[in-house]
């Protein structure tokens, strides 16, 4: 019975994290972007520096009318936000936050699970793009698919390099095998993984599929109210998942210079938060890549780099064993 209780508690904890962290990242984005651009950002909602802005946004979204276009494919149109959001919740279950089995559910092939399920989330954008019966949405869906196909491969190769180094596909297992010198050893793979992950999330500078100055908001053009909010939530949950995965795979997760045993979860959080900050920073810094530049970056830069990393991992692994 206590096993069942422990499982329920773990899943509940993951769910709470899933509800809270994306909102924190969203609020951070408001404030960080504002200060980088010499503005203040939201200041009124909730009193202290506008901390409740996203809560107010949520209330606003919930009040809006739920519109489905007359020409749309109703059921698929309504199902798409759930397909986009749920995979990230599932991935969070497999991400370890601390030592001694501090993970929602330890999986034997955790790396594969995380990447496979993250790939499913893109189906939501494709469904939205097609079912909206809108040419801008369709273009957005097309670009989403092209981008996913190009960036899935370097992401997988980079993750495979870490799995080779650790000799296991399990995320807690990879962390158990981690040493500090993995940082310089796997740095190329880390950069490739993070960049490809950004592209998969369609975050700037890889936001061609939702480029607002060309195709309004891509696949999400026809959405309003709660369903639109769910797509936004999926984006922020994606940022959290990508940052946490990068931290676990390439930055050592709960390992830190001191206090691993007691403060391990704090190290994971600090690394994840730092990477989330970088994601926001990149959005403010870089202009949008054109479609041909996007494809070129994936096929001629990231994939060769990932292959170099795999070769390097193999050589070092053979030498030290």
């Amino acid at each position: 019975m206590s096993d069942t209780l422990a499982l329920v508690l773990r899943v509940l904890a993951v769910f709470v994290v899933f509800l809270v962290l994306p909102l924190v990242v969203g609020q951070t984005e408001h404030k960080v972007m504002a200060h980088m651009q010499g503005r203040l950002g939201p200041m009124y909602a909730g009193g202290f520096h506008g901390w409740a802005q996203l809560v107010a946004d949520g209330v606003k979204f919930a009040q809006k009318e739920d519109v489905v276009p007359a020409g749309a494919d109703r059921r698929i149109f309504q199902l798409a936000p759930a397909v986009a959001l749920l995979p990230y919740l599932l991935v969070m279950i497999a991400i370890p936050v601390g030592p001694h089995n501090a993970v929602g559910q330890a999986l034997d092939a955790g790396v594969f699970f995380a990447l496979a399920v993250m790939g499913v989330g893109v189906l939501g954008s494709l469904m939205a793009g097609w079912a909206s019966a809108n040419k801008f949405s369709l273009l957005g869906g097309l670009r989403t698919a092209a981008q996913l196909l190009a960036y899935e491969l370097p992401m997988l190769l980079a993750a495979a390099s870490v799995a080779m180094a650790a000799g296991t596909l399990s995320l807690p297992g990879i962390l158990d095998a981690f040493h500090w010198w993995w940082l310089p050893w796997q740095i190329i793979g880390g950069v490739v993984f993070f960049t490809a992950g950004l592209a998969e999330l369609q975050r700037p500078p890889f936001d061609m599929p939702v480029a607002d100055s060309e195709i309004i908001f891509g696949a999400y053009t026809e959405y309003t109210g709660l369903r639109f909010a769910l797509f936004l939530l999926a984006e922020y949950a994606g940022i959290v998942v990508l940052s946490a995965l990068t931290a676990v795979l390439f930055l050592g997760g709960w390992h830190g210079p001191f206090g691993d045993a007691g403060l391990g979860w704090l190290w994971t959080l600090v690394k994840t938060a730092a990477l989330c900050f970088v994601v926001i920073w990149l959005r403010v810094t870089y202009p949008r890549l054109r479609e041909d530049q996007l494809q070129k970056l994936a096929w001629t830069v990231l994939i060769p780099l990932a292959l170099v990393q795999i070769a390097l991992t193999g050589i070092v692994k053979v030498v030290i064993s």
Binding site: D108, G119, L169
Partner: protein, 196 residues
Amino acid sequence: MTLAAAGPGFLSPTGVEIAFVLVGLATLGAALLTVTTRQLVHAALWLVAALGGIAVEYLLLTAEFIAWVQVLIYVGSVVVLLLFGLMLTKAPIGPSPDADSGNRWAAVTVAGASAAALVWIVADAFRTTWIDFGGAVQGSTEVSGRSLFRYWVLPFEALSVLLLAALVGAIVLSRRTGAKGAAEAVAPGTAGEERR
């Protein structure tokens, strides 16, 4: 009949076996809808359900690694490629009038025959094999990798050569049409006229 009696019987199914049959039925239903629906994109999405159902079946058979590979390759990539292709066509919202092929009966015959052959062969080969859920996991990444690279290296390598050949073939084919396309780009009017 003595062989069947050696393993657990069919008359007292466990929870996992019941779940396996139910998921199998759902997968079969999704697969039937894939080939019978008149809406092209719906067919692709029912295919997602069918492929996902197969992944769940793998999980129930304790083959965790294979299950996630199934999700990654088929649901995550092949279906995305399919949808990408469908978006480039005029796949309408609502039923496509020309979605039915004239070869319906030939297709049903071939599908039925191959299904019967597969069921017969698989049932015959694994009739007395039972998965012991209490013992060591038989489908973990380590076990799969060990058997793949210890006993099945040659087929594995042969397959990779086959895939390489397919890749090279695809490049050759696309380059040939690419050269034609370039020629058309030089003289678009004349090439278009010739084709008509």
